[in-house]
């Protein structure tokens, strides 16, 4: 698991906020949790329609202004709503109904290929060559 630090622009407070980010090469898009996206003042930019296992998943798209190692990027991101009960560890009575750990988007963003593909060859190599 690769964890990095990225700064995301807070359009409400007009400053960057630091986020721990999970690098996920299996994710086409960067992903952020809805209550955090709302607090950052992210503007939605359409809906993306995906197939997720047996049913459609229709999720809002947003442009995310972010900074990584001093360079700024404008990347396509998805905004997903996570139930509050998934933002904490599993309780004993919830065994076998959900993963033990809280949803990763509770306190992180997911960095997918919309960001990874924007990196320079040098930064890409540094990220995966460690």
């Amino acid at each position: 698991m690769i964890l990095i630090d990225v700064d995301l622009w807070n359009a409400v407070k007009k400053e960057f906020e630091l986020f721990e980010a999970l690098v996920d090469t299996g994710s086409s898009y960067c992903v952020i949790e809805k209550s955090i996206a709302d607090a950052l003042g992210l503007e939605m930019d359409g809906i993306l329609h995906l197939w997720q296992m047996g049913e459609p998943l229709n999720v809002p798209l947003a442009k995310i202004r972010c900074r990584y190692k001093g360079e700024e990027y404008m990347i396509d991101g998805l905004v997903v709503e996570i139930k509050d009960s998934y933002k904490r560890p599993m309780l004993p009575e919830e065994e076998c109904t959900r993963p033990e750990s809280p949803h990763p988007l509770t306190n992180r963003v997911i960095i997918g290929n919309t960001f990874i593909d924007s990196l320079s060859e040098e930064e890409y190599t540094k990220l995966f060559g460690r």
């Binding site: 698991m1 990095i4 807070n10 904490r88 560890p89 750990s101 809280p102 509770t106 306190n107």
Partner: protein, 69 residues
Amino acid sequence: MEPREWVNKHIKELRNKFIGKTVIVSENKVIKTFDGPVNPLKINEVARKICKEKWCYTYLPESEEEYLL
């Protein structure tokens, strides 16, 4: 050392010592801990007040992270 680099280097010790907590790291040490996962915006608010140098945060769950499908 960059805070993230320090976290990556000491992740096993941190996981043993601060299991289930979120930690803010700066100047090669843990500056503050919170119980459980915390909203990143709240962490930023606190870190700006207490950290003089570069900082980062990480959550140390009791079990290994499950990946998203």
